[in-house]
């Protein structure tokens, strides 16, 4: 049911402002659907006289329901809430279903941060995030927002946060966003301080067991190599593990191109490993990742040049 304002007594004191479109020329004449066009006319009018009121909240809600990507409307709503000292909990209750309807919208998240920052508590946010991720478990806005919550409320060492992240990875071991969140908690929260040995071991074991479940999955390989580098361990630490998936004596039974890639690095650093390294790169170029053959051949070229791969 469309909503109109021109015969609504509550709005009789307002004369809607027409769109200032800089004269009617072909590129500027903007044809709105009637309902949206009228509502915007009333918004321009209340903005022009700096009105902050309950009915402005209603009006902005109406416009957002038609077009949630209009940033001006969100900004004015946000100002109105703060001028009225309106209930922020009510605002969140309204935002929840709105966000679910518009999963890819940018403005909603910015608005939400402002409101939750004002409420000064993350209570209820985890349930809401869970509902959002049910729709799209890799939604970038949702994960960025989750990181903001962790930072804002100091949840880096929160056991629940870690358990939840593990559940997300368990539900889909290929969810790179969840892996990134784990890194954010484990490494990001340490502000450059070195990782304790037990944490390094725990994280390596965790990534390894995920790789054993799906050896061709990029995310845990990136994670594993990242941890090894962060802990300043040599890549050769991972040699036995990589061999589980790529034994060059059986070139037809390679289970992971990532393992081959890693072995090429490890062999290249070994004293007499150049030939083995080359073999691994050739397998990648010819059979296990031919779409990037140019890159693998480039790596092979480096071996010939220097004797030690970069």
């Amino acid at each position: 049911m469309p909503i109109f304002y021109h015969d609504d007594p509550e709005w009789s004191d307002i004369e809607p402002l027409p769109q200032d479109d800089g004269g009617l020329h072909p590129l500027a004449a903007i044809a709105y659907a009637d309902e949206y066009s009228e509502a915007m006319g009333y918004l321009r009018a209340v903005m022009a006289k700096n009105e902050f009121s309950q009915r402005v909240l209603g009006l902005t809600e109406h416009i957002i329901s038609m077009n949630p990507a209009h940033y001006t409307v969100w900004l004015y709503r946000s100002r109105t809430l703060s001028e009225l000292k309106a209930s922020l909990h009510d605002e969140i209750a309204w935002l929840n279903p709105t966000a679910l309807k518009h999963l890819k919208n940018y403005q909603i998240w910015h608005h939400r941060q402002t409101i939750i920052d004002g409420i000064n508590s993350p209570k209820g946010e985890h349930e809401f995030i869970a509902t959002m991720l049910e729709q799209d478990s890799k939604n970038y806005h949702v994960w960025s927002y989750r990181q903001w919550l962790v930072k804002r409320f100091g949840l880096f060492d929160d056991k629940e946060e870690m358990r939840w992240t593990e559940d997300m990875i368990h539900a889909d071991v290929r969810n790179n966003s969840a892996w990134n969140h784990r890194w954010f908690l484990v490494v990001g929260g340490r502000d450059g301080k070195t990782l304790p040995e037990n944490v390094v071991k725990r994280e390596m074991d965790y990534a390894k067991s995920a790789i054993r479940k799906a050896p061709q999955n990029q995310s845990p390989w990136n994670y594993l190599k990242g941890i090894v580098r962060e802990a300043k361990l040599p890549v050769s630490t991972l040699k036995d593990f990589a061999l589980e998936f790529a034994d060059m004596r059986r070139p037809d039974d390679i289970y992971s191109s990532h393992a081959l890639d890693l072995l090429a690095d490890i062999y290249a650093e070994e004293e007499n490993g150049k030939e083995e390294a080359k073999k691994a790169l050739e397998l990648l170029a010819s059979k296990y990742d031919p779409i990037r053959a140019h890159y693998w051949n480039f790596r092979k070229g480096l071996l010939d040049q220097s004797g030690v791969a970069a």
């Binding site: 800089g22 590129l27 903007i30 990507a69 910015h110 970038y140 994960w143 995310s219």
Partner: protein
């Protein structure tokens, strides 16, 4: 060339021209907040297709100026608040049309005013840029700001060193970049971060090989590129990924023939335009990124595009 490897240039030109006459469609006013952006995309695509005259210069400039505020910022359309994204589009359009003199005629000292508006959105503590006076921050805005300022030769208005160190703080363990420190790596963000560092003359800060590997890993078996590990391919990433690879001089690390044929499969051969993947509905956004991608791949007949 076999027909499935053919780019339907005339159809795409018609499609882009037709966008402006579809005003009565619901979709049109829903995306109305994107107007200045959309105009920039359409204009760029027409330039690459070799048909810059298809959108009349005078009418485009009149519209662009009607979005310009006294503050030096541009809104998405007349009557909309000024915002970084649209200000960048405004400047890009003016640069594409070589219209900075027209700008001065329309608003005295306009170039400097726009530069100062952009500079005023920099957070002097962190080096980041906000999208508007309300403070939403994102590396997209930072890249946009540097891009627009360099087009106007006004980079000296901002604290470059601080901006560069913010970009560096968005680097991730996998060698790529996210929207803010710690945020997941994403092709679009890689483009904005590498682009910003390139403009700032600090490409030396990029781990070129590691990032090149991450970018080349975006290519999937069907030739298309994705935006993040373990996600689906999409035409718009052809642009983000390839232009980043081009800036690193590693475009040859991906299979260009397979990518070309993937992009061409996303065309609507009857009505023109390109979609995100074969069989989906076309839109202006994917049309320009697809065409820009083909131009980076040196597709015959297209004007070559500058990756930055």
């Amino acid at each position: 060339m076999p027909p499935e490897m053919q780019l339907c240039v005339e159809k795409h030109v018609k499609y882009i021209q037709s966008l402006d006459t579809r005003k009565d469609e619901l979709e049109y006013w829903l995306t109305e907040h994107l107007r200045l952006n959309g105009l920039y995309w359409g204009l760029t695509a027409l330039h690459l297709l070799g048909h810059p005259e298809a959108l009349p210069r005078a009418a485009v400039l009149e519209f662009v100026f009607s979005c310009l505020h006294q503050s030096g910022g541009f809104g998405a359309a007349p009557g909309h608040d000024a915002h970084m994204l649209y200000t960048v589009s405004g400047v890009q359009i003016l640069a594409t049309l070589d219209a900075f003199d027209d700008l001065e005629a329309h608003m005295e000292g306009g170039r400097l005013k726009i530069g100062q508006y952009i500079a005023s959105l920099q957070n002097t503590e962190t080096g980041t840029f906000a999208g508007d006076e309300w403070g939403e921050q994102d590396t997209r805005f930072l890249y946009g700001a540097l891009n627009a300022l360099s087009l106007m030769d006004l980079l000296f208005l901002v604290d470059l060193e601080n901006a560069v160190s913010h970009v560096q703080s968005c680097a991730n363990f996998d060698g790529a970049y996210g929207t803010s420190p710690g945020a997941e790596s994403h092709s679009g963000q890689v483009f904005t971060c590498v682009g910003a560092l390139t403009i700032a003359g600090r490409r030396d800060l990029v781990d070129e090989e590691k990032l090149g590997v991450w970018l080349s890993e975006r290519q999937l078996k069907n030739g298309g590129l994705n935006g993040r590990p373990e996600k689906k391919e999409d035409v718009c990433y052809s642009w983000w990924v390839m232009s980043s690879l081009a800036m690193l001089d590693k475009l040859h690390w991906i299979d260009s023939e397979k990518l070309t044929s993937f992009i061409l499969q996303c065309q609507d051969p009857e009505l023109g335009g390109l979609a995100d993947r074969p069989g989906d509905a076309v839109d202006v956004f994917h049309t320009i990124f697809g065409i820009a991608g083909l131009s980076l791949l040196k597709y015959p007949g297209l004007i070559e595009v500058d990756p930055v």
